[in-house]
Symmetry: C2
Subunit: 119 residues, 2 copies
C-alpha cells in the first residue's frame, strides 16, 4: 500500500469554475479554490512546489528538499503536509524515503482559473 490511493482532494475542485476573467465566482466556488492558492501562497511552499514539479518525474525526495532550505526539518515536513492536504502533491513512501509528486493536472486547472489561457 505504498502508492497512495487516488481519492477526491481539494485540488479536484480547481476545475470547478471558469477563469476569473470570464465569469464571477460564487462565494462557494471561491471558498473551494482559495485553499489551493493559500497552499501556494507561501514562499517556501511555492518553491517546494517548483522543486517537485520541475523534476522530470514530477517527484522529489524529502531528503533532497530539506537540503534546499535553511529551515528545520519539521518546518519542511509541515509545508509538505499543507501542500499534500490541499491536494497539490501526492505522497509516496518507498522504503525509508518519502517522495512527493506534483499533481500537474491540479496546477494546470488552477493556473487556467487565475490567468486565462488567453486564447
Amino acid at each position: 500500500m505504498s502508492k497512495s490511493l487516488v481519492l477526491l482532494t481539494p485540488a479536484d475542485t480547481a476545475a470547478c469554475c471558469s477563469p476569473l476573467t470570464v465569469e464571477p465566482l460564487t462565494m462557494q466556488q471561491a471558498e473551494q479554490v482559495a485553499p489551493l492558492l493559500k497552499a501556494l501562497a507561501d514562499p517556501v511552499r511555492l518553491r517546494l512546489m517548483s522543486l517537485i514539479a520541475s523534476r522530470e518525474s514530477s517527484e522529489a525526495c524529502v531528503c533532497d528538499l530539506n537540503d534546499a532550505f535553511d529551515l528545520s526539518q519539521p518546518t519542511i515536513s509541515h509545508h509538505l503536509k499543507v501542500l499534500h492536504e490541499a491536494g497539490l502533491v501526492d505522497r509516496d513512501k518507498r522504503g525509508v524515503w518519502v517522495y512527493y509528486r506534483a499533481r500537474t493536472a491540479a496546477l494546470a486547472s488552477l493556473g487556467a482559473l487565475v490567468g486565462n489561457p488567453a486564447r
Copy 2:
C-alpha cells in the same frame, strides 16, 4: 490626477520566472511571487477579483462590490486595498465613486507561472 500613475508594483514581478513545472524558483523569486498568490488566496478577495475581472471593462465600482458580500464596508475596502497593493488591480476615483480595474496582464502571467499553458 484621478488616473493612477503606472508605477512598478509587485505584480510586475509575476513574469519573473518560468512556470513551476519547468524550472525551480530561487528563494528570491518565490518571495516575489508569493505575495501575489497570497492576495488571491482569500475567498473574499478571489471573488472580488472575479467580480472585477469578469466585467467587460475589467472594472467595477466599489458600490457594486459592497453589495455582493455580507460583510461590512471597511472589510471590503481592506480587501480591495490588499489586491491593489499586490498590484492586481488599479484604483481610479471618478467623482464620488471609486473603480477598481483588473490588471489582466498580471493575472495572465501569474496563471502561466502556476499552471503552464502546456505548450
